[in-house]
Each structure stands twice: as C-alpha cells, then as structure tokens.
C-alpha cells in the first residue's frame, strides 16, 4: 500500500480509530493489532512476501536469545551473529544482488573473449522494503552482541517492531533500543504528539506530491533523452533530480514519522535539511540519517572508525561509502556513486572538518546565512548533485555520456516541458520551497512551528492548494526508495 494511495487514506483513519478505541486496553492487544495492520499494509502489495518478513522476524528473535545466552562466550555469540547475518544478507543477496553478480561474472569473462549465456539469471521481483527491514532486524542482533541491548522475550512485540507499517518499506531504519522499547510498553494517546504527527504527514505529502511528483516528468524526460539536450538542460535535469529525490524520500520519511506519532510512537529523524549542508560530511549527518547511523554503528566503528591510523580510517570511509552505494541497488552506478561520495568526504575528514557542523545549522543565530556559508552550501549541493548523475542513470555508460553531454555540448537552450507546461511555475515553486525550508531549518519535526494560529491555518491551506495546483494524475506515484 502506498502512503499516497486512496487505500491508505481509508486504512489510516480506520486503523487509528480501532487502535485507540477498541484495541488499547492492553499492550499485547495493541501490538497484535499493529501486527495485523502492518501485515495487511504490506500484503496489499503482495501477500506472498509476508513470509519473508515473518521468517526474518523468527530468525532474529531466536538468534537474539542465543547470542544473549552465550554473551560471555564470544566465539559462540559471534557464531550466532553470523547466523543472523548469513540469513539476512543471504535473503538480500538472493532477491536483490543475485542477478547483479551473475551478470557481472558473465561480463567479466566476456572481457577475455569468453561468450557465456546468462541461463542462471533469475526472474524474481525485489520484495519491497527488504533492504530496510533486514537491516532493522540485523541491528537487533548486533546490539545484543555488542551488549547494548537485552533480547526481548516478547515475540509479539518483536514482530510488531520488525513489521511496524509506517516505516516498514522505506525506513527510517530503527534500532531496537528506540523502537522496540516503545513497542514493549503500552501507549497512551497524547494530543501534542498526534497533532505534531498530522502536521508532519501534511508536510510529507507536500514534499512528495508537489515537489517530487511535479518535477518527475521533467527529470524522466531529461535522463531518457540526454543525448538530445545541451548542457543547460542536462544541468537542470540533474538539479531537479536532487529536489525530486529529496522531496520523495524525505516526504516519505515525514509521513512515516508522522503516522508513527499518531500511534504514540516516536521514530528517529531521517532528514535534517540536507540541502543546507556546508560540506559533504554535514550532508551525511543530515541525509538518510538512519542508514548513515546504521553503517556508522555496525560497520565503521567495528572496523575501527576514526580511532585507528589515518590510512585505516580512510580505508574505513571508502568501505562504508561503497557498501552504502551497493545497499542502494545492484548496479555499478550506485557503487560508483558511493565511491564518489567517499572521494568528496575524505578531504573533509583529513582536514578535520567532518564533525564541524554536527551541532549547528546554517545561519545559526542569524536571519540570513553568511556569504561564506552560501558558497559552502552551493559547493556541497553541486558535488552531491553531480554524484546523482550516477544515482539516476541506468548504467555507467549512460552516466559518463550524460557528463560528456554537459562538457562537450556546453550551450544554453531554454527547456520546454514535455507536456508544454510553464517552466516558470516550477522555478517559483522550488524557490519558495527552498526559502520555506530555510525558515524552518532548525527543527525538522515541526514544519509549521509558528505562534499565530492564523498563520498556521493559512500555511496548511497553501500546502493543500499547492497539492491541487500541481496534481498530475499521469505521474507514476511510487516512491523512489521503494526500489531499494
């Protein structure tokens, strides 16, 4: 079920009503109902893949117990951790990466003149959200192994933790210490929390329906026909893709966090205005935070993090960015994208500026940013946007040809929308969006934090009006990150 579908529009109020009015007596009942709602939510897409979620739940619940029972016998504990990893990564590998490895293997041999036929390539669908929930269940096993968490004996709560529908298919990837602890306790309805949830949902829908969906046809057109466009259009296309992917994914996260709030659960923030980052390190502290945190905790730090020699730290950075790229998709483009980010990150790290902006925002204690900050933001945006050519292109060849088009056909030509729409509408929309995000940049969880009720109502109205003004029923409304 998509958040932006009519089914969800009916599903959410119904589940909300039943959850708070009929199933709120006991935590167990609340959780059983959450599991039912979550499985229905996921099964709406394809019920057959519910078995995978259940299996992943079962394995990690059992493994968690085993790790804890052998917590002081590290070898045994490690063995059980490997069981969890083998199962989850095996599942990911089968559904997501199997064809990639087979094809790469064949391509490799073809380099040496061996012609091989791809008879092993599997005809399988990638189960939605598999990269997200497998990472979430793995984090549970890791946390027990690293003695940060005691395993739960409550299988129902654990099932609800793995399948919690707001964040099941595209995150935020939650750690058990945050989500499972909340699910283990009973929830009581809180007006401020639910009200904040609704506001986040509204803002999330705005980002998805207005920002991401309205510019999607332009991006699709430019990337599909890049060989016919000059540099100005190619640059426009990839810049707009930056906005699209941000609107799409952060919009999804906002709806997920807002929806969880309606059920009395607080999820971690996933986006903290990454467009205003002053260097690439800050960008990764603000973009897809739950994934960055996951890699930091379970890959970077176990490898030594930055507490080892500079050389090893650089190696660790390269590894996590390459793995992060590979996590996004079984394609060399994503690996290259990750590699590029490592290249952008390493100089910042070597200069010791990687934690510089961890606790402040652009224009801190000021109305406007300083000229230096503006330049820093522009430079970061340029680097990140450049890397997105690889993220968006179907193959490495296409990516390089796209870049080649920018360099060799360096000319300006006004872009005409594929449907003939006024392009100025989109420029004004994005300009206002950036300006508004700058205004609210200090708190990603309160997009309508204005004292005046009148101002707030006016803003809600403008947001809904924008959804109507930019609604286009011809657009594919799926979320980009569902494919990961």
């Amino acid at each position: 079920m998509l958040f932006n579908s009519i089914e969800f529009l009916l599903f959410l109020p119904l589940v909300f009503f039943l959850y708070w009015f009929f199933f709120n007596k006991k935590t167990l009942v609340q959780n059983l109902f959450l599991i039912f709602a979550s499985y229905l939510f996921y099964g709406w897409w394809d019920w057959r893949f519910l078995a995978l979620i259940f299996l992943s739940t079962l394995v990690d619940f059992f493994v968690g117990q085993k790790i804890y029972q052998n917590i002081d016998i590290r070898k045994k504990a490690r063995y059980w951790l490997w069981v969890s990893m083998a199962f989850n990564i095996g599942m990911l590998g089968f559904f997501k990466y199997c064809n990639f490895f087979l094809d790469s293997f064949i391509d490799f041999f073809q380099l040496f003149g061996y012609q091989m036929k791809s008879t092993w390539t599997l005809r399988i669908i990638l189960p939605v959200g598999i990269s997200f929930y497998t990472f979430q269940t793995m984090s549970y096993s890791f946390d027990i192994y690293y003695k940060k968490l005691k395993p739960t004996n409550n299988f129902v709560a654990f099932m609800a933790f793995v399948s919690f529908f707001p964040q099941l298919v595209a995150g935020p990837i939650e750690r058990a210490s945050n989500l499972l602890s909340q699910i283990g306790k009973g929830r009581t309805f809180s007006y401020p929390q639910a009200s904040a949830g609704l506001k986040l949902i509204l803002w999330g829908f705005f980002k998805k329906l207005v920002i991401a969906d309205s510019i999607a046809p332009i991006v699709d057109d430019v990337f599909a026909n890049y060989h016919t466009y000059s540099a100005s259009t190619l640059i426009l296309g990839v810049c707009l893709f930056s906005f699209q992917v941000y609107g799409d994914f952060s919009g999804y996260s906002d709806i997920a966090i807002g929806t969880a709030k309606l059920f009395g659960i607080e999820l971690k923030s996933n986006f903290r205005f990454p467009s205003f980052s002053r260097n690439v390190a800050e960008y990764w502290q603000r973009w897809h935070v739950s994934l960055s945190t996951w890699f930091r905790h379970y890959l970077y730090i176990p490898m030594g993090g930055s507490r080892v020699s500079k050389l090893k730290s650089v190696r660790n950075i390269i590894v996590i960015f390459l793995v992060s790229g590979f996590w996004h998709g079984a394609n060399w483009t994503f690996i290259f994208w990750g590699g590029l980010h490592a290249l952008f990150y390493i100089p910042v790290f070597l200069m010791g500026r990687n934690r510089m902006y961890a606790h402040n925002v652009i224009g801190e204690n000021r109305l406007f940013p300083t000229p230096i900050e503006v330049l820093q933001v522009l430079l970061t945006f340029t680097l990140v946007t450049f890397s997105r050519i690889f993220f968006r292109s179907p193959s490495l060849t296409d990516s390089f040809q796209y870049i080649n088009g920018i360099v060799t056909n360096f000319a300006y030509e006004p872009y005409v929308h594929p449907m003939g729409y006024r392009m100025s509408d989109f420029y004004v929309l994005l300009g206002l969006f950036v300006f508004y995000e700058y205004l609210i940049r200090k708190d990603e969880r309160s997009p309508f934090k204005f004292k005046s009720k009148m101002v707030r109502i006016l803003l809600y109205t403008i947001v809904v009006l924008a959804m109507l003004l930019f609604y286009d029923d011809g657009v594919n409304r799926s979320f980009i990150y569902f494919q990961f």
Binding site: E7, F22, F23, F189, Y191, Y421, D425, I457
Partner: protein, 341 residues
C-alpha cells in the same frame, strides 16, 4: 468502546482524543472554506452549462448561459463561452436564410470549443477568412455521428436553408452506434443532486476537473481494488486482437451506412472533417467510392512545428483552430469556385 472513563488517566486520554478529533475536524473545515474562497476568487474551477434534451430529442445546452471554461490546474487556459438561443456555444444566433451563405459546423467538444473564447472560435475564424459567410457551430461535448445525423434531420427546416454542412468525425469514437437514442441517463445523472453539489461547490468542481477525485471515483466503483487484483494475475495476450480490430472496423462501417440510411445524407452539401491518421483506410476508401466528400486535416497538422493542442488537454489550441479554419475555408473557397458562386 474500551477507552472507558474508569481512571483519571483514561479521562485525560479521552479528553485528549476528543480535543484532537474536534480540532482536526475544525481545521479541515477551515482549510476547505479557505480553499473554496481561493478557487472562486481566482476562478480555478471550470463551468459546465446545463444540458437538456429538447422536443426534437436533440441533446444540447440550456440557452442563455454565459461563463468561463478553464483548463489545467493553474488556469493554463481560460476562455469565455456563450450559449445562444439554439443551445450551442457561439458568437452568433443561428438564423439561416436563402440569401446568406451559411456553413453548419457539427461536432463534439472540439467544435463546441469551450477551450477558446466564443468570439474567437473556429467558426469566427472561418468567417474572418471568408468574409461573407456565417458559420453555425453545432458543437456539443459527447456528440457522436448518430447525434450529428439526428440533429440534421431533427432541424431539417434550418438545415435546408444552410448551404454547407461540415461534420467533424472522430473515427475512433464517433461510430460506436448505428442508430440514435438520446442519452437520458447522462442528462439525469448531470441533473442529480450529487452533480448539482459538485457544480455548486467550486472546490469539488475544481478537484473533479484536475482529476484528484478520480481515485475516489475508482474506489466507489470498485475499480481501485480491481486494479490491485489484476496486478497479481498474469498478463494474457489476446491472440484475437487483430480479428477484434477487424470486426470493429466492419462494425463502424456498418454503423455509418445505417446512419446514412436512417437519417439521410445530402452528399451535395455535406462534407466530413477528419484526421486520416486516426481513420481506417477502409472507411476512407468507402467514402471515396461512394461519393462521401471529406476534408483531411492531417497533412496540415503534420506540416506545422507549433503544438496544435492544449496543455493538460488534447483539444485543439488556438493554433490548431486557426489551421482547421483555414483548411475548411480553403475547401469552401474551392467548392464555391467550382460551383461558380
């Protein structure tokens, strides 16, 4: 309900929930009210003048309505319409005489022309080019050839005085039936309370126009679930597709013949306006063999580099209408010259 008021925390919960629900409803109401105001002030909605079936069983608009038709979410196309006393959108009244040279232009929404100011319609453009003619546009959204042929027969007295009749034929959708029956269901539906509410609440009219109500319509009609079910089923290739297309082609031709037989067809002054790119060759061949004249505007549309249709809508834009007007005017000029008029 289990949120029973048994202890202070339950009471507090209940009050919180009550506040939440009440405030949500209040805010939604205020937002809708503000949106309705904005939609009205900026005239984002489109107007659809009422329809009816007259005593000759001709489906048309209720005379005397003026207003604005809007295309696109952001007022991309804004045009004025004027329903004349005959019940059609036009800059003039239809009063044919023996002395004047009149052209009747009959068709669906393309001819009705709610996408262009009524005083700059295709008919008006033809009049500007030809100078001494009057063009009567009998356009009505939803007309097919059966409607058009019935109209000519029903208004026989008027059409006897009209010198040229041009029928716009959209081959793909206008030959579905071989006999005319007034669409009373549609008129009843459009006059129903639901549609009256839609037309009076401008926000609903606007939402309906931009397609945001489509998912709700699909849900009500059950299509939303049907699509999901279909998605799980394997695609089956219809091996008889070409046979079905052939049957359709034959059926359309039979319908055309049936309409001509039932309602008559004055070959001397009636011409079909069509797009050969969308019309089957067999139909064109039949017309050629049997003396049914037609104007094909496909080459003219193909020769222009500028778009001929609107944004958000595939109806002709001003440029498209200019081209259509020129094609018709050239045809009339040629015919007049041939007849020595």
């Amino acid at each position: 309900m289990t949120m029973a008021l048994t202890d202070p925390s339950s009471i507090s919960n209940f009050n919180s929930m009550k506040k939440f629900l009440l405030k949500t409803v209040l805010y939604v109401f205020l937002i809708l009210l503000l949106l309705e105001t904005i939609v009205r002030v900026f005239h984002l909605y489109t107007e659809d003048p009422p329809r009816y079936i007259d005593e000759y069983l001709v489906e048309k608009r209720v005379p005397g309505h003026n207003g604005y038709a809007v295309t696109g979410n952001r007022n991309q196309n804004f045009s004025e319409f004027n329903i004349n006393t005959t019940g059609f959108n036009s800059h003039r009244e239809f009063v044919p005489t023996k002395e004047k040279f009149e052209i009747a232009l009959i068709g669906d929404s393309f001819i009705e022309g709610f996408h262009q100011d009524y005083y700059d319609s295709t008919g008006k453009k033809i009049e500007t080019i030809l100078d001494t003619v009057e063009v009567y546009q009998y356009g009505y959204a939803g007309y097919d050839l059966a409607n058009q042929m019935h109209l000519i027969k029903a208004y026989k007295e008027q059409f006897n005085l009209i010198d040229e009749i041009i029928i716009y034929l959209n081959y793909e959708s206008d030959l579905e039936r071989g006999v005319y029956e007034p669409n009373r269901e549609r008129i009843a539906m459009l006059s129903s309370t639901v549609f009256k509410i839609r037309d009076n609440v401008k926000l609903l009219a606007y939402g309906s126009k931009v397609g945001i109500l489509e998912p709700i319509k699909k849900l009500v009609t059950g299509q939303a679930f049907q699509n999901t079910t279909e998605a799980y089923e394997n695609n089956t290739v219809d091996v008889d597709q070409s046979k079905a297309a052939q049957r359709k082609e034959q059926e359309y031709l039979e319908n055309f013949k049936s309409l001509v037989n039932l309602y008559g067809y004055d070959k001397s002054k009636t011409t079909i306006l069509l797009d050969s790119r969308k019309t089957k060759a067999s139909f064109l061949a039949y017309c050629n063999e049997n003396g049914f004249k037609y104007i094909d505007f496909a080459p003219t549309f193909e020769s222009t580099t500028k778009p001929v249709t609107l944004i958000y809508d595939w109806h002709w834009n001003n440029h498209g209408r200019e081209l259509i007007a020129k094609v018709i005017a050239d045809y009339i000029k040629g015919k007049k010259a041939q007849n020595g008029k």
